[in-house]
């Protein structure tokens, strides 16, 4: 199989008018998430590689952020006052590239180069090659410290720009995250929001079997964060929470987004085998069929 430009047919979604209703925003996010999933499935199937399980776990969060939360657009991608989004779980680069393409940061046809020799679209994102990428991530436990540094810069500038960082739950086993959380709390970075993609699966097993993170809410609270739990596939919940930060003045926010790896595909969802498995022809067709039925975030 070869990924070609014919496999990159996603519609580009603009930004909604400023005063759109909540219902309009949710519909916009749902449509984006559906299109991003269909495109990401094509990307992984035709490229023959990728991390589709984690991609599908994170896409509703990405679609919400870029569709209705982040103050950033292709025109302001280098504006110093833009909001920052840092993808710490860099292995879901395919989901990020597809999201950036959906919102016009990246030409959709560029997705055809994903993982190909000399492509800007490496298996992990590179800020120097792809507009909209804020940090070169891939090794785990790097994004949160970088996000803390950015949030500190905003505080020094007395700026209201916000910083969002998406971390995997397995990734929280890296100690650097907890170093960064202590500093975020010490510096009262309430414009910083950490989103945990809490799919409870890491590469080869559940987090519980590997190095249990629970009680995660209590741990984050003990580190000085305002903790909120949401359904990470519910666009309304995500929109409400991610738009409303900070919840507690002086405290950074820790959003535990409960998700399923591979969501919403029946044979992928919550199945550890789909960390980086590539769907074969039959699986690809079935997944496409399921995604076609998927509407407004529901099957």
């Amino acid at each position: 199989m070869t990924l070609t430009v014919e496999h990159t047919t996603m519609p580009v979604l603009g930004r909604l008018p400023v005063h759109s209703s909540r219902a309009e925003q949710i519909a916009h996010i749902a449509e984006a998430a559906k299109q991003i999933r269909i495109q990401d499935l094509k990307l992984v199937h035709h490229a023959g590689a990728g991390h589709i399980g984690g991609d599908f776990s994170a896409i509703d969060i990405l679609a919400t952020l870029y569709g209705a939360v982040l103050d950033i657009s292709p025109a302001t991608v280098n504006d110093p006052e833009r909001d920052r989004f840092i993808l710490s779980k860099g292995h879901v680069a395919g989901a990020l590239y597809t999201t950036l393409a959906a919102f016009g940061f990246l030409p959709v046809e560029d997705l055809a180069t994903f993982l190909k020799p000399l492509s800007a679209l490496n298996g992990h994102p590179n800020r120097n090659k792809v507009a909209g990428v804020e940090a070169n991530t891939g090794p785990l436990g790097h994004g949160l410290p970088v996000a803390v540094g950015h949030a500190l810069s905003a505080k020094l500038d007395v700026s209201l720009r916000r910083t969002y960082v998406l971390v995997g739950d397995g990734e929280l086993q890296e100690g650097s995250n907890w170093e960064a959380m202590m500093a975020a709390s010490q510096y009262q970075l309430d414009r910083l929001t950490v989103i945990v993609d809490r799919n409870r699966l890491q590469q080869g097993a559940t987090t519980k079997e590997t190095n249990d993170l629970d009680p995660l809410p209590e741990k984050a609270a003990a580190f000085g964060f305002a903790v909120v739990e949401v359904n990470g596939h519910d666009h309304g919940e995500l929109l409400d929470v991610l738009s409303a930060v900070p919840f507690r003045p002086g405290k950074p926010t820790f959003v535990i987004a409960h998700t399923h790896k591979g969501h919403p595909i029946s044979f992928m969802s919550n199945n550890v085998a789909w960390h980086h498995r590539v769907p074969d022809a039959a699986e690809y067709q079935q997944a496409l069929t399921e995604l076609a039925r998927y509407d407004r975030g529901r099957l």
Partner: protein, 319 residues
Amino acid sequence: MVHTSIADQPRYDCRDAYVETLAELAEADHRIVGVVNDSVGSSKLNSFRKAFPDRLINVGIAEQDMVGVASGLANGGRIPFVSAASCFLTGRALEQIKADVAYSNTNVKLCGMSPGVAYGELGPTHHSVEDIAWLRAIANMRIIVPADPIETAAALRWAAASDGPVFIRVSRMSVPKVYAEDYEFELGKAITVRDGSDVTLISNGTVLWRALAAAERLAEEGISARVLSMPTVKPLDTDAVVAAARETAGIVTAEEAVSGGGLGGAVAETVVQHHPARVSILGFPEFAPTGSAGYLLNRYGLSPEGIADAARKLVTTGT
């Protein structure tokens, strides 16, 4: 005429020049911030903290976070000068230096304090002799090893004015002034601090003055030693190295670092590829035993006499 040796000149702790220059730079440019891992005292940054209380970011004893935070500060338009004991900065945060600073190409200035064997009797856990070899392996990283307070200040001014990642060693072990006060740092350029035609001594950091003192001794014996100051280990001034290989009988490198992979390694790689010549590499080949910094330098041949010995051997026996 009374001949005075460089060995008899007054000595200075380069950290004083560091903090003085950083304060001047910060005064002139609001973007400059310090980032430390509790290392305010050991980096001599108390006066900086007093002058710029909001601009000294102390993340606590957390080096990975320190370097990641610096990368994020740079993303927000700041110019962070990370100041921490070189052993912990480079050893503990090596992957952050690779991914968040060098590969991300963020405008972060990494300042390795008290490098080499400055911590003496505290032992190899606190020695930072590996830092240069580790960072040399990372693409897009520039490595500067200043030899005196004048060069330390000049390198800092250069770093503040130029975009991109850099690692600067800031010596704790006191050194005499090698350069004139009007010295200006130029990245990637060797400086011929003493001309000579028989043999070349290439050095930097705390060992440069010792190489100059070695050349004084050799001159008394009729051996003309060229002394090249090589403050930039990466990118290396390969032209100066090749010229030395071509024009003199061989090269002795002397540095306060491991004897493989640092300045000596860089010089040897250049010579074997462009103009094969004898290279004698002085440095630390093993974990150092207990001893003061001065004792350890002498023990591993990094004294004026040790460097002169290596040069004599090279000139007389070709090895």
